[in-house]
Symmetry: C2
Subunit: 143 residues, 2 copies
């Protein structure tokens, strides 16, 4: 009887640890990176951009999640007569560059970007690098 | 023996539920609100603003946390030759207005704002309401 109970406790313990640890021992430990970014949006494309993002394509959503992006929000704001999109997300993986390349290589994501890219009007820094979004510099964080 | 095991299982169950539920039964259930906001910053004040936020005052930090604000980050970005601050936070309380009023009434927070306000240059919408930060409109969210 004691052996059965001990085995039960051991199994529960192993299941608990498996639930708590998302990383295998020895693998790089992910550190949450917060990314804030900005791009312009063409006024005549705001309605379509909103419509797209009210019903995002499931395969695109899955790819974002597979690439270790969490808590991703995009907001719209007019500043000095021009419209901008502001993005915030948390990266919970261990290789942001590799995940971004993986996302860029995904055919469904490429098809999605064919819809969103013509809506956006990148700032000069991003445009000069062939990118859409410009990253910002974090000056404060409180958990 | 069976009774002892049953009691053990019950205790573990109660502890598990207590750990999962952060709200007392009957009290309003908090829903996380994500806030993205923007304000201008005077170029000559950027260094001082960064210095302040690299060493925030403990009483101000405590008041922010007591007012149910979590995951609060502020980033800096230059857009079309002007500098802006972009804030992101999550509100986990049940009465945002009441918490904001509580924060505004706190003497240490008022003393902190006497340092930060002269650094900032609010957008017209915020300025017309006597506010510093302008809220944005969320168009997308992926958990």
């Amino acid at each position: 009887m004691k052996t059965v109970i001990a085995m039960g406790v051991m199994i529960v313990g192993v299941l608990f640890l498996a639930g708590c640890c998302s990383v295998c021992p020895g693998s790089p430990k992910p550190v949450v990176k917060r990314i804030q970014m900005v791009t312009g949006i063409k006024p005549e494309k705001i309605a379509y951009y909103k419509e797209l993002h009210a019903h995002p394509w499931p395969a695109v959503t899955k790819m974002i999640q597979d690439c270790h992006i969490r808590n991703f929000s995009i907001s719209l704001k007019q500043i000095e007569g021009k419209y901008y999109l502001f993005g915030y997300f948390e990266y919970v993986g261990t290789d942001l560059d590799a995940d971004m390349k993986r996302m860029a290589a995904d055919p469904e994501t490429q098809r999605w970007w064919k819809e969103t890219d013509p809506c956006q009007s990148p700032l000069p820094d991003a445009a000069s690098k062939g990118k859409v979004w410009d990253n910002m510099d974090e000056v404060y964080f409180l958990k």
